[in-house]
Amino acid sequence: MTLPQFKFLMPTSLREACALLEKHQGKIKIKAGGTDMIVRLSHRAVKPDFLMTVKKIPDLDGINYSPKGGLTIGALALLREVETSPLVLEHAPMLARAARATATVQIRNMGTVMGNVCNASPSADNIPTLVAMNARIVAASGSDEREIPIDEFFLGPGRSALQANEIAVAIKVPTLAAGSGVSYQKISPRSKVDIAAVNIGALVTLDETGKCRAVRISMGAVGPTPLRATQAEEFLLGKEITDATLAEAGRLAAEDASPITDVRASREYRKLMVEVLTTRALKEAAGFASGQSSIAE
């Protein structure tokens, strides 16, 4: 299948890129690794007049960490880089697990975490953990820069809160509070190397007495955008993590999920998987939070 006709733009500065976005508003698509965009172009799922690569813009790559600012993942950081970054493995190992769960190593050497986020697919591997960890997306426009809380970033399948003149330049992941743990769980029709039928990201923060002080649960592929399991979160707050409370949280999460039946899974299967994976994710996250288990990725 051939690519449709478009003009290819290759800005070498953020300023130039923003100016091009301004100029061709609505007629332009942004490409980083291209692992999603090129496929969508060849299938005519998108038909832009202009395709702009951001690969030549300096300073968009890189993964940084500071105790105060947390982890910053540049827009051009490859999935493979996030998967193997010592900083990520130390400060947010679940982001590395989610990156590794994405496609194959060849694709991870091309694709970016930011691309996976901006593509806004409900089943994206890298979104649930970022939601659980309450990340922020840094968006730049001509003169301005703003941070979008990830809870407000996804508007629908393929639709994000980025304005037509904005480029997402970095993901900021806050440093976790003491006593926190995160988990990423995924199920897909094939055992490995596959798109998620359901995926769950969970963050659990425990207080000194072992009660749940904070919890965030993100459910993927069970709604048009990543969904928060709000009932389960509210239920767990202030409670001890036991098999019974975990099971109930799983059940409540399944209630909040609104999956469809499609070629990848049935609605009923997805609901049950939300329950199973939420319970597992919370259990694992609580284990990390209490220091009883440590991650060996």
């Binding site: 094939r190 490995k192 070629v263 299967y269």
Partner: protein, 762 residues
């Protein structure tokens, strides 16, 4: 390998002759061929499953700049084709639909343009007016009262059953009356894709002398030659089919297909070469596939575990055309009675038309379906009778000399040895007792054919033929129409020839699969026929050369007539006087002198005669799957696969091993994850994102061993390897899952969702 056979080239894991060119990326496949002035072809396919074509307007497409040719069913000869030439009324396809379309993807029109973009755009500009008809999308719907008749011009006793087959021997009713245990079960098996790495592609050229040449990704150049000749109203000798490198076939490339016809027809019409290359989406949405089947199997046992008889009723969901369905329908009945002695057997198979992409030949050709059912029922019977699944099989297993009445005689048979071996290797009896919850061990077995005997293509030639030319520099040139499509036959045939002539593999040049150059004929690569059938032809051709050269050595040393002559190490010598050796090249030189310059050429043919109705030789094997099931998610992980099999002499053990690993991979996808999800005839899983082939990471570790047999009908004792092994994997995994969960899978694929539903969790 039998110890009394001392081979020097056969039985060695020599690297493939095509390994280097493929590894460096220099192998030319059909799509790599670019001819001067070549145009790009594209097919317009029906978007509706069943409809009358009221009108086609191609004017806008023809007016598009760059478009050089547009054809529809109205432009082509009204000649139907199909591989079953023996039964002309079974030939039910036009290259482009005439008046009616029968599945989503049915080819309606074709264009040729200067570039791919213009060809695609032209396709979009063709306007077709359809009058939609009700469709039938399953065996049940097709056989229902008032079902739409899919081929109304083709007289059928039962509407939509294009062909059926009955087999019966013994007294099955008596067997059921006397049985202690009867299993009476319904199974459904699904369609899967060949998913060969190389999508179909061809380039056709028509020259000023009136000859058509087509380079095409095919398993059977001869079929393409014959069927192009009949549909193009040309003579076979005016058509040259060349098989370039082919990236796999698995049965999906053994027919003449519409793009081959359209490339040839348009090349002739406009005098420029035309190329077609299918997209993966076309392959998945419209391509041939393995037959889905509804199978009703009723099997009778005595209380001590002996099989008394079986009734096997199969409805094949054939899709919109016969394709290779008749063969699958026939073979399914044969495979239903393989592996064990069924003293009483009744088979009824019916090939049913539906408004879906046609199913065709695919690795196993009826065996994966029949053996999923047969092996599952053996496991069920073992449990019900309190027997070990290995023991119940050993009691009933076929052995050398057994006869399937009126069908075949089993020559070499290493089935029992395979069972015993696989049980030993897995520590089967102990391990089965010590399984943790969620762990399972399962057994599946297979038998397969080494090429078919039944001449449904109605060839007038021998089934295979080889020509060997010997040169005085000690080399030979092998010419054969046998088609290496990635399975390694070019290497294996060279090994066979080198062994026979006592040469090195590097002494052998090979030209293969060009209908204008290589000897007529060879039926192609399918049904695991090439090693045995082409191998036998190559040996015979070599033997003719040897006879000629033996005379020279005998003359030179004035040898007594009782001397046994040998070829070895590049020499020819009397068996007990190796000092009286003449080099192969010198012997050729002498023979050529003696023949006043005539080249030294040997010919060999092979056609199975007096080999029953099915095949000259059967392979056998047994496989154990070890699985772990996540009982909450239904995820099934295959931890290890152990295989013991009998392929006679493995000519190239490394190639055999590659085949076996490929079989496990394909069997794994068939068992667990691959499926065409369809809605009213429309295939929804049209990319590898949603059509779930196991990835490298999904492959379990495994080990396999050959059981030592020697097939008297095969070259150097060889028979089938690799195709049959696609069959045991699904029943072995399903049995392991049963042992892990208590859910007995009788409908493939065994997805996590189906498993959880079976465990009553959703």
């Amino acid at each position: 390998m039998s110890t009394d056979h001392n081979f020097s080239v056969v039985g060695k894991s020599l690297p493939r002759s095509d390994a280097r060119i493929k590894a460096v990326g220099a192998a030319q496949y059909a799509d790599d061929i670019f001819l001067p002035g070549m145009l790009y072809g594209k097919l317009l396919r029906s978007p509706v499953a069943h409809a009358l074509i009221k009108s086609i307007d191609t004017s806008a497409a023809e007016a598009l700049p760059g478009v050089k040719c547009v054809i529809t069913g109205q432009d082509i000869p009204k000649i139907k084709y199909g591989n079953w030439r023996l039964v002309p009324e079974s030939q039910d396809e036009f290259a482009l639909a005439i008046d009616k379309v029968r599945f989503i993807g049915d080819e309606v029109a074709a264009v040729a343009a200067l570039d791919k973009d213009s060809a695609e755009e032209a396709i979009r500009l063709i306007k077709v007016e359809y009058e939609e008809l009700p469709g039938a999308y399953s065996v049940e719907e097709s056989l229902a009262d008032n079902a739409p008749v899919i081929h109304d011009e083709y007289k059928q006793d039962i509407p939509n059953i294009s062909l059926d087959r009955k087999i019966e021997y013994g007294n099955i009713d008596k067997a059921f009356a006397e049985a202690d245990l009867i299993l009476d079960d319904h199974f459904t098996v699904h369609a899967v894709s060949h998913a060969y790495m190389e999508p179909c592609s061809c380039v056709a050229e028509y020259d000023h002398d009136g000859r058509l040449t087509i380079w095409t990704s095919t398993q059977a150049p001869y079929f393409v030659q014959c069927l192009l000749a009949s549909t193009m109203e040309m003579r076979e000798n005016d058509i040259r089919v060349i098989k370039p490198f082919v990236g796999g076939g698995f049965g999906g490339k053994m027919e003449m297909r519409p793009w081959e016809f359209c490339a040839a027809f348009m090349a002739r019409k406009i005098g420029r070469p035309v190329k077609f290359t299918l997209t993966r989406e076309e392959e998945l949405a419209t391509g041939r596939r393995r037959h889905p089947m509804n199978i009703h199997s009723k099997i009778a046992f005595s209380k001590d575990g002996m099989i008394l008889g079986k009734e096997f009723i199969v409805h094949l969901d054939g899709g919109a055309y016969n394709s290779m369905g008749p063969t699958a329908c026939f073979l399914c009945g044969n495979f239903g009675a393989m592996l064990y002695n069924y003293p009483n057997y009744r088979y009824y198979g019916a090939h049913v038309y539906t408004n879906k992409p046609p199913a065709g030949a695919m690795r196993g050709f009826g065996a994966p379906q029949a053996l999923f059912v047969a092996e599952t029922q053996m496991n069920m019977a073992a449990e019900k009778l309190g027997l070990d699944p290995v023991d119940i099989r050993l009691m009933n297993a076929m052995e050398s000399g057994d006869e399937i009445p009126g069908v075949a005689t089993i020559s070499s048979c290493g089935f029992k040895e395979s069972l015993i071996k696989v049980a030993e290797m897995t520590n089967w009896r102990e391990k089965r007792k010590n399984l943790k919850p969620g762990q399972g061990l399962g057994l599946g077995c297979y038998s397969f054919i080494s090429g078919g005997v039944f001449n449904w293509f109605n060839t007038r030639y021998n089934f295979t033929r080889a020509e060997v030319r010997a040169f005085d520099d000690g080399t030979v040139h092998l010419m054969t129409m046998a088609s290496d499509i990635g399975q390694g036959s070019d290497t294996v045939l060279r090994q066979i020839l080198a062994e026979e002539l006592g040469l090195k593999i590097s002494d052998i040049r090979l030209t293969a699969a060009d209908t204008a150059v290589t000897p007529q004929a060879d039926l192609g690569t399918w049904g695991s026929r090439v090693t045995l059938m082409a191998g036998n032809a190559v040996r015979k051709a070599a033997q003719e050369i040897k006879e000629e050269l033996f005379k020279m050595v005998s003359l030179k040393f004035d040898l007594n007539v009782i001397h046994d002559m040998r070829c070895g190490n590049g020499n020819i010598y009397p068996a007990n006087r190796p000092d009286r050796a003449v080099s192969f090249g010198d012997a050729v030189k002498m023979a050529q002198r003696a023949n006043r310059g005539e080249p030294i050429i040997g010919y060999g043919s092979y056609t199975p005669r007096n080999k029953g109705l099915v095949t000259p030789a059967f392979s056998f094997g047994a496989q154990v799957a070890e699985c772990e099931v996540d009982q909450e998610t239904g995820a099934i992980e295959v931890k290890f696969m152990t295989t013991a099999h009998d392929c006679g002499t493995p000519i190239n053990p490394m190639s055999v091993e590659g085949q076996l690993e490929g079989s496990v991979h394909m069997g794994l996808g068939y068992a667990l994850s691959e499926q065409f999800i369809m809605k009213e005839g429309k295939t929804l899983t049209t990319t590898f994102l949603d059509y779930k082939i196991p990835c490298a990471e999904d492959m379990p570790p495994g080990v396999s061993v050959h059981v030592d047999t020697y097939e008297p009908d095969g070259p150097f004792g060889a028979k089938e390897a690799g195709e049959g092994l696609v069959s045991p994997t699904a029943p072995a995994i399903a049995d392991a899952v049963y042992n892990a969960t208590g859910f007995r899978c009788m409908d493939l694929p065994l997805t996590p969702q189906r498993l959880l539903a079976g465990m009553k969790k959703i």
